[in-house]
Each structure stands twice: as C-alpha cells, then as structure tokens.
C-alpha cells in the first residue's frame, strides 16, 4: 500500500479545461479524507447498528445471564458466579449430548460435501438434462424447512411412505425414527437432501471457473481423469471447499427444527444435540441461566472449529499457499 499525497481542499484541479472551484479559506475541518470517512461510516452505520443491537449486546448478555440463576416463573434473578459452569462440567447428560452433536456434525459434513462435490462434477458435464437435474437437486433448498421436515416425519413413520416403498421391493424397513442409529441417520439424511443443493451450486460455480488449458496441459503430461481431478480440479476449487466446509460445519451445529419435529431428541437421548439441549434447558425446563451457559459452550465450539479451519487453510487451500 502506498500513501497518496493529499492535496488541500480547494487546490486547483490538475486539468486546465475545468473551471477552478471557488476559493475557500484554508483546508477547514471537512477535508476530502474526512468526508470520505464520514460517508464510509454512514454506509456501514445501519449494518453496525444491527450488529451491535442483535449480535454484540445479546452476546454480552448471554455471558451475563450464564452467571445467574434465572427462574422465570418466580421472577428471581440471582447472581451465582461460576455455578452454572461447574454444573455444566458435571452434567451427566453432557457427554451424551456432545457425542450426539459430534455424530451429527461429522455425519452431515462428510456426506454433504462428498455428495455435493460428486453431483457438481456429474452435472458439470456437457450432457442433456443436466439443467433439469440441477434444478431438481437445488429445489429443496428453497422449500420451507419445517414443512420439509414434517413431510419427512410422515414418510419415515413405521407405516409411512419409505417403508411402503421398501415393502414393494420385498424389504421390511426399520422403524426409522425409533432406533438409536436409524433415528440419527434419518435426521442427517433429511438435512442432507435439504441442503446438498446449495453446496452443489457453489462447487459447480467453482468447477466452471477452472481454466480449460490446465486440463489440456495435464492431459499432455499424461494425466488420467482421476489424476486431473486430484491435481487440477481439487486445488483449483479448494477455496470453495473451505467456504462450504465452514458453512456446513457451523450449520450442522445449529440444527434444531429437524430434531424438534422428527425425534424431540429421542429415542432416549440419541439425537439430543447441543442446540436442542440448550432449548430444552432454557425453555421447557425454565433454566434460562443454565441455557445461557450451554450457549456459551456452543459459541466456544463454533469459534474453535472456525479458527482451526481458517488456520488449516494455508496447508490445503491453493491460493493461500505461499
């Protein structure tokens, strides 16, 4: 970055054809730089105000609430220091909740990214019907999440559509939402089909941005299709892989409606993920202070995962390598 030399306000314009502006007394307070700065601040002000009111203040309040025992019914709000954090560390349900969260997140992120990339590669071919399939895979993204989940809830019943379909093929399907493993798999699958289209479109855009001459050069060097994918495609789309992986990881930690509609955290506590546990504690159980403590934990987890991904980008994102 080189520094511009500022000319004082009111200095004659460099071109001779433009008439000179009326002379002013000295540079004054409103220099061009200051006016530019003011304009800049005014442009970001609405966004900044929104961020302060809806993000930063609530974030600070969550920390504050997490230090209190807040009984909504009796209207008591008592400072308890780190009691909630100690209770969280000793919460016998927490390991199970974290395990369920990890299963869900890993299951969703791996399948979502793999399937989205596979679909994008397939649909990037110059074949008939790709537009139709592209629309088909993307359309669930724009469907209302709750409506989508309710329909799947009906389909996944023991006597629902999925098992009906399996019966016609002579297969006796499981009671999807009642088994520990099948319930988790169902929730992941419902979320996967809902959102895979978004990542697919992002990958597709990235794939179309890979210059063709790189493939030509690779072919001349004797690279097969797999080698071309591994050594040309993947490095070139790695910034998009980083973006989609961060979005998907963060999104997976925010799953709520699917759990609330499909399983309510069951059977047992097999699908009680962290955000659903937070909701249970804060709202149905009336432990608002403890709920705030869990949201601080969720915040910390998201922060750590994002920072780790961001730091690792230097190792595997093509444009970030020195």
């Amino acid at each position: 970055m080189s520094h511009r030399t500022e000319s004082p306000v009111g200095a004659p314009a460099p071109t001779g054809t433009t008439p000179a502006p009326p002379p002013r007394r000295g540079p004054g307070f409103w220099t061009i730089r200051r006016r530019d700065q003011l304009a800049g601040y005014l442009f970001v002000a609405p966004q900044l105000a929104g961020t302060i009111v809806f993000v930063l203040v609530p974030l600070a309040l969550v920390f504050w609430y997490s230090l209190h025992e807040w009984n909504v019914l009796s209207g008591t709000f008592t400072f308890t220091g780190t009691d909630n954090y100690r209770a969280l560390a000793e919460d016998p349900k927490l390991p199970g909740v974290l395990r369920a969260t990890a299963f869900f997140s890993i299951g969703l992120v791996v399948t979502n990214l793999a399937l989205a990339l596979l679909l994008a590669v397939l649909l990037n071919q110059k074949l008939r019907g790709t537009v139709l399939f592209r629309t088909l895979f993307f359309s669930p993204v724009v469907v209302s999440l709750v409506a989508w989940t309710i329909v799947w809830g009906v389909l996944l019943q023991d006597n629902g559509g999925i098992n009906g379909l399996l019966r016609t093929a002579g297969v006796h399907g499981p009671n999807w939402l009642r088994g520990d493993v099948t319930a988790m798999a169902s929730v992941i699958a419902v979320q996967l089909v809902k959102n895979v289209g978004l990542n697919m479109v992002l990958f597709l855009a990235a794939l179309q941005g890979v210059p063709h001459d790189l493939y030509e050069a690779a072919r001349l060097d004797g690279a097969g299709r797999w080698r071309q994918f591994r050594s040309v495609t993947l490095p070139m789309i790695s910034p998009t892989v980083l973006l989609t992986s961060i979005i998907t990881v963060v999104g997976s930690l925010q799953v709520f409606a699917q759990i609330a509609v499909l399983t309510q955290g069951g059977p047992g506590t097999s699908t009680t993920v962290l955000l659903y546990y937070l909701y249970q504690q804060a709202f149905p159980f009336h432990h608002f202070g403890y709920g705030a403590t869990i949201s601080v934990l969720l915040f910390a987890i998201v922060l750590v995962l994002t920072v780790v991904q961001w730091q690792l980008r230097r190792k595997w994102v093509f444009h970030e390598q020195s």
Binding site: L61, R178, V250
Partner: protein
C-alpha cells in the same frame, strides 16, 4: 471478513434466544382507566371460544371499566413453554389455563395471585360447593392459586361397528356381566387388528412420548409414577413392572395397540377403542360409525378412575391482577360453571348430576355420564404431577424409550427410569 460473518452466524442462536427474553419488566397493579384482559388457553375450538366470549361479553356489561377481554389460543404441544417465554419477556397474560402436569411449578412459584379473598367477596360464589379433591393440586399453604375449571375423567370411546365387524362383544354388555377388564379389552383390540387390519386400542396423546397418559392403564394395577409426597420413585415397584409387562405384551405380541411410529385416529374410524377425556366427545358430532363411551376397564386391583385437570390462574405480573381475579370469579361462578360444563366437567358437587351434565352434553347418554363422569370424579386419581415437571417428564420419556420394542427387559428399563429421575425427585 468471512470469519467475522461466521462468528456472527454462530451468535444468531444466542441472539434468537435473547431476542425473546431480553425485554423484561414488572407490572403496575393500580387499575386506572380502561382495563383490557388477556387469557391464554390451549383450545382453539370455535364452540369453546364462542362460549368464553359470550361469558366475557356479559361481564363487560356490568363492569364498564373492562373494555376488552381476549382469549389467546396457544397450541397444546408448546403451551407451557410459550407461556413461560411470555412471562420471561415481561408479557405474561392476565389469566391463563394451566396444565395439571405443571401445576406444582406454577402454584409454588409465587407467579400466581391467591384467589381466596376475591372468591370470598364474590356474592353467590358458593365456594363450599367445590370438591376438596379437585382443588388439592392447586393449593399451596392453604391458599388457592388456580381454579380447577375442568376436572375431566378418562373413559374409553368405543367404535361399536368395528367391534361387531370383528365379532367381538360390546364393552357395555361386558360391564353388565362384570367382564370389562384390561385383559378383555386387549383381547378385543387384538382381534380387531387381526380381522380388520384397523388399530385396536389407542391411548390418545400418548404416542410413545407423553407417558403420563399411561396412568390410565397402570392405575388398574395399583401402580403410580411416584409416591404421594413426590419423593419416592414408583416405576421399579412390582405393580408397575406387572402393568408395563402386560402393556408391552399387548403392544408387541398381541398387537392390541398400534406400535411406535404408527398413527391411528379413533375419531376418523381408524381404531376400535381409544382412552380419552369426555371433552373429546365433541369430535364425534359427525361420526359415521356407531359409538359408545364406557369407564376404563378394571385392572387386577379392581375398577378405578383417572382424571385430568386444568386450572385457571391470574398472574402477579399482570397490570390488572385485581380485575383479572374478579373476572376469574365471574367466569367460574355457579351460573357460568354450568355453562362451561358442556365441555369441561365442573368441580362443583351441585353440578355433578346427570340432569345438569345431560343438558349441556347432548352427545352423551345419561348412563354414560353417570358411569364415567359422576362416578369417576370423586374416586379419580389425578394424572402424575410434580415440581420441575417438564424436566422430569423428559427424563422419564428418554429412559422409557427402550421399553417400546418387542421382548424388552421391563424390569431393567423401569429400574433405569428410577435412576434417571432420582436426583429430580429428591429436590
């Protein structure tokens, strides 16, 4: 930049939680100027709301300072959660229906206004007419914090056409011969399922989640979820093990009840019997099949009755709590209680007779009202209630889940229920 966006994204969950709760505030108890009251209810049935409105309109005629009374229906599934969220946000209603399950929480919290003084000074209220058994759950330290406006016994609705089709005897005849037992009911349910493909017996609203509704069965075995003082777990007691073993067999071996994840609606003609409260009779207005209402079958410990209750309370947080309590006394006075009786069985002894109930329940026969409602209320066991009800209910539901499969180790599962809820019971 991207990182800050992600951080912002992460904070949305917490912001959402706080957006609902950040704006707290107290209430001014002085009633100056026009009063507007809001009552939350979990029924959105048009006949219910029309009746409430007509009572409110009458009240407004004699209380000119009350300009508006609104009835705000909240879906049943999320009723208590929504209500407490409104309280947390400083937007508590003036009056609210309260579910029996959360009665101990509300009654002991100090969130409600005691009603005794208002009731005492309301002329013609006749508080002595209210059965003590009905108000027990709603009292704390001798004071009444909510009025039990609905004390509704559970009965069995029977699709007589479906039973006939499966060649099964009608429960009404079995009652006469003293053979109306759970074993018989399960056998009939099993036969209906085998011969017609329809469901046998549906425990309404249970759906393998709201386990409290199973008290309509286990009470027949003499079992209870916890002791009367709420301190000792009852799930691992022999009575409960026997009841649940029998239920597991009925579901998975005899197929007398639809299994988990299988929906069947009695009122749409999809099952032969359903265990439900009498207020559900309204759903049979346009029924295309013959039906009957009979008391719960007898269990090994003989005949019994289970009642579900709903209370009506006034919040301290209300700006007009005095006016709200006054309206509550009017809403539940003898005259209006008789009107409400068509949907909500009253807790007033004088109104628990076939004549009063028959007038407002045209769908039910006098014999049905006598056997299920009038005989049921005095001896009824109230569905399980405990402080910290939502958390306790969730713990039991999670721990009971392994029971809902064929050949479950009933004793082990029920023991695990007790271990799961022991810390909460001891609080």
């Amino acid at each position: 930049m991207r990182q800050s966006r992600v951080l912002r994204f992460a904070a949305v969950a917490t912001a959402g939680l706080l957006g609902l709760t950040a704006c707290g505030g107290g209430g001014d108890k002085e009633d100056s100027g026009p009063v507007s009251l809001r009552m939350t209810v979990w029924s959105s049935a048009a006949p219910h709301l029309a009746l409430f409105k007509s009572i409110a309109d009458e009240y407004k005629k004699t209380h000119k300072n009350v300009t508006d009374i609104t009835f705000d229906p909240i879906p049943f599934d999320s009723y208590t959660t929504t209500l407490t969220t409104q309280i947390a946000g400083g937007k508590a209603p003036d009056l609210a229906w309260i579910l029996e399950g959360s009665a101990p929480d509300f009654v002991s919290s100090g969130a409600l206004v005691p009603l005794d003084d208002t009731i005492a000074k309301t002329s013609g209220y006749d508080a002595a007419d209210i059965t003590p058994a009905a108000t027990k759950l709603w009292k704390d330290g001798g004071k009444l914090y909510a009025y039990p406006f609905s004390t509704s016994p559970f009965g069995v609705f029977v699709n007589t056409d479906l039973l006939k089709k499966a060649g099964q005897p009608a429960p009404a005849d079995l009652i006469k011969s003293g053979k109306w037992t759970w074993d018989q009911a399960f056998a009939e349910g099993s036969q209906v399922n085998a011969k017609t493909g329809k469901a046998g017996i549906v425990i309404r609203d249970f759906d393998y989640k709201l386990w409290e509704n199973l008290s309509t069965i286990w009470t027949g075995w003499g079992a209870q979820a916890w002791s009367a003082d709420g301190k000792t777990c009852g799930f691992d007691k022999p009575e409960m093990v026997d009841a649940m073993t029998r239920l597991n067999k009925a579901i998975f071996t005899e197929k007398a009840l639809p299994g988990p994840g299988t929906g069947a609606d009695f009122f749409a003609g999809e099952s032969a019997m359903t265990v439900a409260q009498i207020s559900r009779a309204a759903l049979l207005k346009d029924a295309k099949f013959g039906w009957d209402l009979v008391p719960l079958p007898a269990g090994p410990k003989g005949s019994y009755s289970v009642i579900g209750q709903a209370g009506l309370g006034v919040f301290k947080q209300s700006k007009h709590s005095a006016a709200a309590a006054d309206f509550l006394a009017y809403f539940t006075n003898p005259e209006n209680s008789a009107k409400l009786a068509q949907f909500f069985p009253p807790a007033r002894k004088s109104q628990l007779n076939v004549d009063t109930l028959a007038k407002s329940n045209p769908l039910l026969k006098p014999a049905q009202l006598q056997s299920v409602v009038i005989d049921g209320i005095p001896q009824g066991v109230v569905k399980p209630a405990h402080s910290g009800s939502a958390e306790l209910s969730q713990s039991v539901r999670s721990a009971l889940d392994p029971l809902w499969k064929p050949g479950a180790d009933v004793k082990a599962v029920l023991t695990s229920v007790c271990s799961a809820i022991a810390p909460q019971l001891s609080k």
